[in-house]
């Protein structure tokens, strides 16, 4: 139930981003992208050290590597465009949801940890994809920022599919 609550909170946070689609500017989008990646890096670090299943452990490390790479590219672009990422309610909601997820995961062990982490990864990547499609990509004004979002979108799709495959294997 707690996992469900955390996932719901994150999904609602990203849906809220959609509600403010018109109000979001490039500086805020850059901040949301960096925050969304960082939230998954934090959870991935925890999974890399605490997961029991080697597959889940490896996936956690993969999330750290990939989202760190995406974040570096996002920060490099923001620097190049002299855009200072601006904090906003969506970023704050993402961060709060991420912290809550990590706090919840820390109370779990073994198979329960693995399942909660992977379930959250599935829901989280789906929610981020929805936000990319409905809010972030349509909302980006700068063509390079929009192109970066389009370019990294398949990574979220690949992670979602990978997480779903692990999710189904854990259930067996």
């Amino acid at each position: 139930m707690r996992t469900f609550a955390v996932v719901t909170a994150i999904a609602l946070g990203l849906v809220a981003a959609g509600a403010f689609a018109q109000a979001i500017d490039d500086a805020q989008i850059a901040h949301i992208v960096v925050t969304a990646n960082q939230v998954d890096i934090d959870a991935g670090k925890l999974a890399a050290s605490m997961a029991t299943s080697p597959e889940v452990k490896k996936f956690g490390q993969q999330m750290v590597t990939d989202h760190t790479g995406v974040n570096k590219q996002a920060v490099d672009l923001a620097t190049k465009l002299t855009v200072t990422p601006a904090d906003n309610p969506t970023s704050q909601s993402l961060k709060a949801g991420g912290d809550k997820n990590v706090a919840n995961l820390k109370t779990l062990k073994g198979a329960a940890f693995d399942k909660a982490y992977v379930d959250h990864e599935v829901a989280y990547h789906q929610a981020v994809l929805d936000a990319l499609d409905k809010t972030l990509i349509p909302g980006a004004s700068n063509t390079e920022l929009k192109a970066l979002l389009v370019k990294v979108r398949p990574a979220f799709v690949a992670h979602l599919e990978h997480a779903k495959t692990i999710q189904s294997s854990l259930g067996k």
């Binding site: 590597t65 790479g69 995406v70 979108r153 398949p154 990574a155 799709v157 599919e161 990978h162």
Partner: protein, 121 residues
């Protein structure tokens, strides 16, 4: 008897040496023209971008080289039963010379949804 046998094998050795020399000369004569007829090895590029291989299916000739170039901001691999690049860092490349004919489906071991196919003719 032993002396006759020895003479015969000495004569066989001379005959073999002559044959080898003749074959060597023939190979020397054929060598340059054979090289001209051999098609030049080509270098092909597969781009790793947006968690996919482009082109997804590549057909090459045996002896050709394939360069996998990673344009994503995170590492990938190109791994099959015949070859394994190991981790290719962002911005880096890995080259493989196709030695064996056949169809090789390959994946990125980090991203199992990322698949490609190399056909070596």
């Amino acid at each position: 008897m032993p002396r006759r046998s020895s003479r015969r094998s000495a004569s066989s050795r001379r005959a073999l040496a002559s044959l080898a020399a003749a074959l060597g000369a023939l190979a020397f004569c054929l060598g340059p023209s054979a090289a001209v007829e051999t098609p030049q090895a080509t270098t092909h590029t597969v781009v790793m971008d947006a968690v996919s291989f482009t082109p997804g299916v590549l057909t090459v000739k045996r002896g050709d080289s394939i360069v996998w170039r990673n344009q994503d901001p995170f590492p990938h691999t190109a791994t099959s039963s015949a070859f394994d690049s190991q981790s290719i860092a962002p911005g880096q490349s890995w080259t493989y010379t196709a030695k064996t004919r056949g169809e090789f489906s390959y994946v990125c071991t980090f991203h199992p949804t990322m698949k490609g196919m190399l056909r070596v003719q």
